[in-house]
Subunit: 113 residues, 2 copies
């Protein structure tokens, strides 16, 4: 059993092209022996965001802190603590921080991504 505080470990900058002000912590993953899916925690600085893109795999997201928007097609939908977002495989998406404090969320993806 692995028990940690999510902010206890190191975060790394997200280097994906188009990402601005984003960092990630890998909370549960292959290194822990987790066989099927990975739990990551993202932090996006005010004004920053993830690139608008689509991926072959799904994302399961839970917003922890801050405010922002997720692009759902051409519509910006509000993100605030407690919001759950399911992004199906291949669906375009983008997360942006429109607030004045860090936008923090969990984002889980399948291992075969």
């Amino acid at each position: 059993m692995k028990i940690i505080h999510y902010e206890g470990g190191e975060s790394a900058p997200v280097e994906t092209e188009g990402a601005t002000g984003c960092s990630v912590r890998w909370l549960i993953g292959e290194a822990d022996g987790a066989p099927n899916f990975d739990m990551r925690q993202f932090e996006v600085a005010p004004g920053g965001g993830t690139p608008k893109h689509s991926q072959a795999h799904e994302h399961e997201v839970f917003v922890l802190e801050g405010t922002g928007v997720v692009l759902d097609g051409d519509i910006e939908r509000l993100l605030e603590p407690g919001i759950v977002v399911y992004v199906p495989p291949k669906e375009p998406h983008q997360f942006r921080n429109t607030g004045t404090t860090p936008l923090k969320f969990l984002c889980l993806i399948p291992r075969l991504a």
Copy 2:
């Protein structure tokens, strides 16, 4: 894309033998077309808990609110907001609320569980 607040949907009592004061919300699952893993949110009343058991599949847990313990072997480890727990497949575990307010956590499991 599905976007909800985690407390916006209905919760159902957990009927598993040995569970006391537990309810669950299915946030992302097969009904949403999610192909690989499911996001659930549990709420455990003060004094309540999940049964001490083991299952064939892993659990990936994130504590949202409240305080409690998770049984790690014979040791009780503290749960508080922001704590992440990875329970490997087949490892015995039990979550209990030792506080005075609801213990709320996310618990994700693979689909083939």
